[in-house]
Symmetry: C2
Amino acid sequence: MQLTDHLAEFTRRDWQTVSDPDERIRFALIGLGWFTTERVIPAIAESDLCEVSTVVSGSSEKADRVGDEAGAEYRLGYDEFHAGEANERYDAVYIATPNATHLDFVESAADFGKAVLCEKPLEATTARAEKVVRTCENAGITLMVGYRMHTNPAVRRMRELVREGFVGDPALVEGAMCQNVFEMISPDPNQWRLDADLAGGSALIDLGIYPLNTARFVLDSNPVSAQGTTKSPHEHFSEVDQHVSFEVEFETGVTAACVASQYAQQRSQFSVIGTEGRLTLEPAFFGEAQLTAERNGAKADFLVEPVNEEVEEFDYFADCLLSGRDPEPDGQHALVDMRTIEAIYESAKIDERIPITA
Amino acid sequence: MQLTDHLAEFTRRDWQTVSDPDERIRFALIGLGWFTTERVIPAIAESDLCEVSTVVSGSSEKADRVGDEAGAEYRLGYDEFHAGEANERYDAVYIATPNATHLDFVESAADFGKAVLCEKPLEATTARAEKVVRTCENAGITLMVGYRMHTNPAVRRMRELVREGFVGDPALVEGAMCQNVFEMISPDPNQWRLDADLAGGSALIDLGIYPLNTARFVLDSNPVSAQGTTKSPHEHFSEVDQHVSFEVEFETGVTAACVASQYAQQRSQFSVIGTEGRLTLEPAFFGEAQLTAERNGAKADFLVEPVNEEVEEFDYFADCLLSGRDPEPDGQHALVDMRTIEAIYESAKIDERIPITA
């Protein structure tokens, strides 16, 4: 493909097969935290193929309030959801509850034969994530994991350029994803994101997963080993990693060096350096990815209006359901991240490189 | 210090104590490769405190040619240098020969009581670097290692800002230093830079040393452990590392994740991320460092005309000699890099994090 083609159709939905469905996919949104209310509900309102029919929360007050805002006809408590109430009213569930509770909701969704779009990380541990995947496979339901970078046009164009050989042979990846989480949630030490059992970790499992997964997607390659170092100087991070630096070695021989932090100055960058060129997303992971392509001393900035990543993600999931095909970021895909993350945490403990096996 | 002060005096030589000496420091330049001829000789011509009196080469043709260009009165072969010929004609030696030959030239300089400015890395191995340091200490001569980033104003201002707490508590460092070495030297597999015995390594010891040493300088902290991964897909790198990714843990708890390559698309970046802000050099290591300061969503680019780093480095060394004080990047300083680099190479072999001890 020529550069002009990349530019002319930069934000094209190269995955879209359904544009004017008879029925939209009706979602039950489970877990009404800031990401669901601030990002997902407005995105579904803007989407082509999705609608909210049901909201599910542990708090009936919150379910009512958010249900009104989202125009959702049905508002369920967690028990009501698990009991199957109103389950003829939705086609799919979106799960954005604390990581360690994903499995319970997936089990009920599987019982009802509903498709699942589950937030990343898939679960708090690899063992529980494997149960999620088995549960969906046994029930024959579709499972997609919410890697919003997969449907970001800048990331998709980056992957195409890598495949076309723009960077020559990819050699090294740099990645960074840092934020101050207390700008999004209250600095409450009882917050589930700071609870090791509920979250499974913090900087790495919640943020380091972005450069890790984006590298896998863009390189079309999986990790073979990983190592890393975690630090938690802030008192609220007594159970989980506040900062992490890590290194991942891929099947192709590419190595990645990444940093992530849950409480530091915001930073997001992702770069693939090859023998002939470099492709960079900066910013990368906060919904405003911008692609830069460099080769032989020349540089092109693709200054393209960022898309709404959640609109793309939800429409992609709905498109897969409506056309009867499997989404690319499925459960097996997500398990590789879970195993890599667990390897890095293990490496930080025992000071060894950890091989990653299927 | 206020931001306005940082701007007003951005390129100030905060280290300069001598401005109009009776006599300049007269150098013997040993090793007349591209860095000496392209960078060092023009820099000395521009410097306040230095001059070239002598050039030393293994090739008398090259010594004559470069000697003419540099206006050097004395041209010596290596044997003549070691025999002490014309040694009353220079005050200091600059050593830019293959890494594994630095010790031999230092031994002769020490015999003649001459000060030494030695290119980084100090030697090809830690054991030989330790001998360099002992030799200089025993002879009571000054030894400085050519870390040109130490006298780069952007790096010095970055260090001041870190010390003043601009980034809050430093947490993470990102660093990258990649080049296509065959744009500077011929792609000759017999080149000393590709010879394990002569060079001691490639991507890490020649280029990874930049983010490593700059992190130590800017953070005022030394490594306590390190790990890394080396790759050498190109046939000319059968003996040394073509690419490296590595992670370094510092005494203060900061961790750094870095990449370097001797044969890839050019890339140079260095960033310190703290709890409150971020300081970035991009580009960083190719003589055109630009500093950016970010804090709480605001960003300042310091757009300052880059200085000539070699002029600064040589004048700093000369200033130390003329004022009778020790340079900051001395032999003991350089040994910490050598031990860290050896630790990373060892880690890449045995798949373990390696502690770094003095």
